[in-house]
Subunit: 252 residues, 2 copies
């Protein structure tokens, strides 16, 4: 067994969506961003960029592309982490080298590398007493966000983090049992009764039952498929993302 | 300013590729994996799975798909982190709900979520005194790795981490200056002289000069484009990945 400050920090994570109006001092922001960049990355190429939005007016404008979720305007900083092959390509071309990174392999490689930066930023921020929340909506309106942040071709936003000093102390969210997620040696494709078992605790939480009542669905799964992330919406957003990633050169 | 154990851990990261033969005790492994799952994830759907390879023979076999990099066989554990919509889809269908997550939006969402798990696992492992190394090669041979680990449709490997007690203490690798990566309010598209400036320190490192001599190229950029990650290779691997992700249902 081991137990230390870092393990506790990881295990105590909860997303924080309400912030005080205290700004983040620049030396603290610099430490957080430096820690972000120390994560592993492919070939030490650092094919990512980080765009920090702090201006009050610009936070409000950016919030529009995140469905006006209130944490965007109220956060001390909104951090958009992007794949960036623009800087790398420019460097290559200035050095008489012919880059070939505008393709699917580097879309996924860049998404992984940018997310490692993002998660390091989040952990460093929490270590500084800040609260963070990821916004999946960055992928819904990636082309609009790219235009708003002045991202050139080859720079694609993949995660957005809101960050600020916490004005709430939310309950920790549930997780599926480890045995449902972790497989030793080979993937164990769950049989129907194993699926029931894996999701049983989640389905029986009082807040789940409350949620089902509010949504008027038969069960929790239907809240996801008919309300939160419907197939129809997913297809529309995927088509939009597909077009954007073709224009960006990553998909052909 | 702030300074604490977690910040130091993040800022002192280096990839460790040589390991002692000490195994990782199960309670420590459990803590690491639990910490991995505590990271933020989209809708708390946990659309990821973690496959742990510890058996000596299976590590050797898995190493083949990672170009026989020696850290795969010598690691105490090789952890393949996957997007997993298979478990989620099965649950939805058992609950009379129609899932729609086999598309581009959820390929990228799943890649982000799986990478957050991966990075939390790495940080927890380092907090336990272990060393880790990411293997980008997982994307090169994703279909072969999927078959070897018995991954069904809807389960796609996105990162691989080797992990063990360190038998080396490598030098920390360089990073580009923060100013080259971080943009405030709007992306600052670097002019040619800014590109020179951003890459100057890296290009002038003694180890860079040594590497250029060994590779017989004009400069560092050409090592990447003509030796390490060539356009021709990137296209071949992207085509393979494209076919695999179509078969997996994530790309159409």
């Amino acid at each position: 067994m081991f137990d230390n400050e870092t393990l506790s920090l990881l295990k105590n994570h909860r997303s924080v969506r309400k912030y005080t109006d205290q700004p983040i001092a620049q030396p603290i922001m610099d430490q957080i961003l430096e820690a972000g960049m120390r994560g592993s990355n492919t070939g030490n190429m650092q094919i990512y960029s980080v765009v920090v939005t702090r201006d009050a007016q610009r936070k409000k404008e950016l919030a529009q592309f995140h469905f006006n979720q209130p944490m965007v305007s109220s956060a001390a900083a909104v951090i958009t982490v992007c794949i960036d092959i623009n800087r790398w390509n420019k460097w290559c071309r200035q050095r008489n080298a012919d880059p070939g990174y505008d393709n699917l392999l580097w879309l996924l490689t860049g998404t992984v590398d940018a997310t490692i930066v993002s998660q390091n930023i989040c952990i460093a921020a929490e270590a500084a007493g800040l609260g963070i929340c990821y916004l999946g909506t960055v992928l819904y309106n990636a082309p609009e966000i790219a235009q708003y942040l002045n991202l050139p071709k080859g720079v694609v936003p993949v995660t957005t983090i809101t960050m600020g000093y916490p004005a709430e102390n939310p309950q920790q969210s549930d997780r599926l049992p480890l045995g449902g997620i972790v497989h030793y040696e080979q993937y164990n494709d769950p049989a129907p009764e194993q699926i029931d078992q894996i999701f049983s605790e989640k389905e029986n939480l009082p807040q789940t039952k409350e949620l089902i009542k509010q949504n008027g669905t038969e069960n929790l799964a239907q809240i996801f498929t008919t309300k939160r992330y419907t197939k129809a919406d997913n297809i529309v957003i995927s088509d939009k993302l597909d077009k954007y990633l073709r224009d960006s050169g990553f998909l052909k």
